[in-house]
């Protein structure tokens, strides 16, 4: 395919069992008027793309462990290359699990501490604006974003968690609506209320909550917008003022 347009291109990766791909595609194309393609997991060349989304779902049925099989899909070669080249990669929910299994992010997502699948609104405190995912937010902002998962209980060994803290790589934590980090605000038992982290180069984000499910008032909230707006702006999209 010859690309003449300078408009940034977004890849929405689809594995067998992915279920949030259409939501992500809809937000990119209809809320932000940017270009998005669905990319089937057998495609390994993502060189046309500036930004990739690994959406939520149950890639390859989540058999063995969430993300364990998906990690070996050809598309992950392309994702790894994008990550190395400094392009933007975001893994949402199952996408976060895939990025951890692929060791593009540290740690793992365990079964929720209460063993229940949770589909509910959560509050996320923005821990840092030093990322291309939160550059349009203010530190301490509280975003209301829904979760929908059974395995979102972030775990890493104490050294890794200390390193994440030290390097300011925890981007979102579950909080109260007022921005307090409490055990009650933690929907899954995640260590240190961790909801989202970035890699060392800060261009790969994994988060359990679903920002694509809250970008329009009809869906009950628009707090997912600043996340998409930040990363699209970083990729060079002129983000409409009303969407950020």
């Amino acid at each position: 395919m010859t690309t003449t347009t300078q408009s940034p291109r977004v890849a929405v990766v689809v594995f067998p069992g992915t279920w949030s791909d259409a939501d992500c595609h809809h937000v990119i194309t209809n809320v932000f008027n940017a270009h998005a393609d669905y990319v089937w997991h057998t495609e390994s060349n993502l060189s046309d793309y500036d930004l990739a989304i690994l959406p939520g779902g149950f890639a390859h049925g989540d058999h063995l462990r969430p993300g364990a099989i998906a990690r070996f899909s050809p598309v992950m070669d392309g994702i790894r290359r994008m990550a190395e080249e400094g392009k933007t990669v975001i893994g949402i929910c199952n996408g976060f699990q895939v990025l951890c299994e692929a060791q593009l992010l540290p740690g793992a997502l365990l079964r929720n501490a209460h063993l229940q699948y949770r589909c509910q609104w959560t509050n996320l405190r923005v821990e840092t604006t030093d990322s291309r995912f939160t550059s349009l937010s203010q530190q301490g902002d509280v975003l209301r974003v829904p979760i929908s998962h059974g395995d979102g209980n972030y775990f890493a060994d104490p050294d890794t968690v200390a390193q994440l803290e030290r390097e300011n790589r925890i981007i979102f934590r579950y909080s109260t609506p007022e921005g307090e980090i409490t055990p009650e605000a933690n929907p899954n038992g995640a260590l240190a209320n961790i909801a989202g982290i970035v890699n060392k180069n800060r261009n790969v984000l994994g988060m359990m909550p679903h920002p694509e499910r809250c970008c329009e008032p009809e869906l009950g909230g628009v707090d997912g917008r600043p996340i998409f707006a930040s990363m699209l702006q970083h990729a060079g999209v002129a983000v409409p003022a009303h969407t950020s």
Binding site: L64, A68, E101, P106, L110, N112, H114, F155, G189
Partner: protein, 86 residues
């Protein structure tokens, strides 16, 4: 060449919270087994390895499989026994 079977046990690493184990512990206690002090829940796999030149070759292939896919080294340990035949 002989064929081999691997019996693989994948278990949560010490220190990793194991919600399923805790839930099973609660279940056993509610059945009256008050002396039970802990349960860790893992996964058991039987893998027909096919032919291999030796027991050692079959074991090293099993180790590779565990490292690459069957266990996540961040949260899980593995051990296995490899036996001849299927």
């Amino acid at each position: 060449m002989p064929s081999y079977l691997a019996r693989i046990y994948v278990t949560p690493k010490p220190g990793v919270v194991d919600p399923q184990g805790l839930s099973i512990l609660g279940g056993l206690r509610s059945l009256g087994y008050h002396s039970v002090s802990a349960v860790r829940a893992g996964r058991y796999l039987e893998v027909q390895l096919g032919e291999a030149s030796s027991q050692e070759a079959a074991e090293s292939r099993t180790t590779e499989m565990c490292r690459q896919l069957l266990a996540n080294p961040v949260i899980e340990d593995y051990r296995f026994e490899v036996v001849e035949g299927d």
